[in-house]
């Protein structure tokens, strides 16, 4: 089983990111589960969501405490939240940022990949400058960096899941898949 934890802020689309990711794996024939951390969600507050992927029926119905991989929609969370809590060594961390990752511990212990998802989202007119909607881009970057799921499946999931601007979201995912930078 693969367990993935998504960190973001309320309003960025973290919960939907976890669902699109699950749906993408479903398109590749996997059993999946996706759910939010059950808090009271507020715009701007740190939020989490979870995705489980397995070759067999998933029976665990509880939150994920030892994820295999992380998806981080806001780089500031790296400094404010203990995002790597429970993360298995050697796991992937996909971070939305336009700058260098200076935290050498992250780079040494885990596989780190970065993507400027804000830029891609704005290029495709997803969200506003203040709150770009980066969830489809970051999932594209996850596919590109980890190779665990194909970009084709991610695009299929976006088509089925996203109610508006399907084409723009699919293109954003594709761009992010191609532009993701593997740091370690």
């Amino acid at each position: 089983m693969i367990e993935i934890r998504t960190h973001g802020r309320g309003g960025q689309g973290s919960v939907i990111a976890s669902e699109i990711l699950a749906d993408a794996f479903f398109h590749e024939g996997k059993f999946v589960q996706a759910f939010p951390a059950f808090g009271v969600e507020r715009r701007g507050a740190p939020v989490m969501a979870f995705t489980r992927v397995s070759d067999s029926q998933i029976r665990e119905r509880c939150q994920i405490y030892q994820p295999d991989h992380l998806v981080v929609l806001d780089r500031v969370l790296i400094e404010t939240v203990n995002i790597t809590e429970g993360l298995k060594e050697g796991g992937w961390i996909i971070i939305n940022t336009n700058s260098e990752i200076e935290n050498s511990e992250l780079i040494e212990k885990f596989h780190v990949a970065t993507i400027d998802a804000n830029k891609i989202a704005l290029k495709h007119r997803l969200g506003s400058r203040a709150t770009p909607i980066v969830n489809t881009s970051i999932i594209g970057a996850f596919a590109g960096a980890t190779g665990l799921v194909s970009i084709k499946a991610v695009k299929e999931a976006i088509e089925g899941f996203v109610p508006l601007k399907k084409e723009a979201n699919m293109q954003a995912a594709e761009d992010a898949c191609n532009e993701v930078k593997i740091i370690s």
Partner: protein, 383 residues
């Protein structure tokens, strides 16, 4: 068609496929998506039903009572304080023998305010006379809705389908969607023997004196006692059409198990993973899921548990001053027929996570407990 959907929407799709004609509900977290999608389906003609907006849950159930009495298939959904506000009307639905189906998303009762899961909301309605079915997956949630209508209409009794907040309601997973066309093979149109009809006037809800009231209560109990067989048969009929069945209880690796953990809802699912892990270590343990809580399947429970040497019940609920509520029922089922120790564990109240390690802790305690006469063992509580 298989699709990744949330538990709340699994309810909505189940209602769509059952072709309910009147839906009346008031939104409340974590139930809101259920009626949000149903109201959209009503508005865009996907379902030929009337959606009645109301100002409270009491009115929602009152509207369902009226619609059901007029002879149509009727549905509502709620949670926690909403279910409690319906309480008076829940009694009405039973007394009037109306086959309403209600989905309750288990949410802890306030104060203190909580939106997270536990079973005290639905279990506090134990004695009103509604049948109660507890489900563990989105697939079972969807499939149980048409089953509930069939059971309700045959017994002329209302049925509550109960699911955990968030661990099901907000969790996306794969569901094989059922469609009305195929459900019709299983669930015929609702044709009540008696209904309110302006062209054929009768009076309903009159005063029943001491010479009558008790017989009407007897008939409700009679319907409940018939219920177990009806639920089993309906489940078999569903399985014939759709290839999926759930039973009234589900035993997992119980055949030769010395210790059996009794669970319900999503905990039943997580428990199976723990049972496999413990079996791999050579520990003789199994799990029993209670799907039907009212009527309680006393005989089925006895048959499975009486072969064990020890029973441990996990309750995500408590009857204050009493014990865990499933625990009390399990004791009743075994009373006077076996001397097996039965241990009660309270866990996960107010949505506290019941992880595999919490279940393992309970199992380990149950296995090593030398003094198993304690009725309540609190798990993970800070004292």
């Amino acid at each position: 068609m298989k699709k990744v959907i949330m538990g709340n929407h699994a309810v909505s799709y189940g209602v769509r496929a059952s072709e309910a004609k009147v839906i009346s509900a008031y939104p409340i977290t974590p139930q809101t998506h259920v009626v949000e999608l149903l109201s959209e389906m009503c508005a865009n003609g996907e379902i030929d039903a009337k959606f009645i907006k109301v100002e409270s849950e009491h009115s929602a159930m009152a509207a369902c009572v009226g619609a059901s009495a007029a002879g149509v298939r009727t549905f509502t959904a709620t949670s926690s304080q909403g279910l409690l506000l319906m309480h008076e009307m829940l009694h009405w639905a039973v007394g009037a023998r109306l086959p309403i189906v209600l989905a309750n998303i288990n949410r802890a009762v306030g104060p203190p305010w909580s939106i997270w899961t536990d079973q005290n909301d639905s279990l506090s309605q134990r004695d009103v006379g509604w049948l109660q079915l507890y489900v563990e997956s989105n697939q079972e949630t969807q499939d149980t809705i048409p089953q509930a209508f069939k059971i309700a209409e045959e017994l002329q009794m209302p049925v509550m389908v109960v699911m955990d907040a968030f661990f099901l309601s907000h969790t996306y997973e794969i569901v094989d969607l059922i469609e009305a066309e195929k459900v019709r093979e299983f669930l015929p149109p609702y044709q009540p023997e008696i209904k309110m009809d302006v062209n054929d006037p009768h009076s309903f809800g009159n005063l029943a004196g001491p010479d009558m009231y008790m017989e009407l209560r007897y008939m409700i109990q009679e319907a409940m006692e018939k219920g177990i067989d009806v639920i089993k048969r309906v489940d078999k009929e569903f399985e014939k059409v759709f290839g999926r069945g759930y039973g009234v209880v589900e035993a997992y690796r119980c055949d030769d198990a010395e210790t059996i953990l009794v669970t319900s809802g999503t905990v039943a699912s997580t428990t199976r993973a723990v049972i496999d892990e413990m079996r791999d270590e050579g520990i003789s343990i199994g799990a029993l899921k209670i799907r039907v809580f009212r009527p309680f399947p006393f005989e089925d429970v006895f048959e499975i548990l009486s072969k064990a040497k020890k029973v441990a019940v996990i309750d995500r609920n408590i009857s204050f001053g009493g014990h865990g509520i499933f625990y009390q029922e399990i004791k009743s089922a075994l009373y006077g027929r076996t001397g097996i120790p039965i241990l009660g564990y309270i866990a996960g109240l107010g949505g506290r996570d019941i992880t595999p390690s919490v279940i393992r802790e309970i199992a380990d305690k149950a296995l090593s407990d030398k003094n198993p006469e304690r009725y309540i063992n609190w798990i993970g509580v800070k004292r």
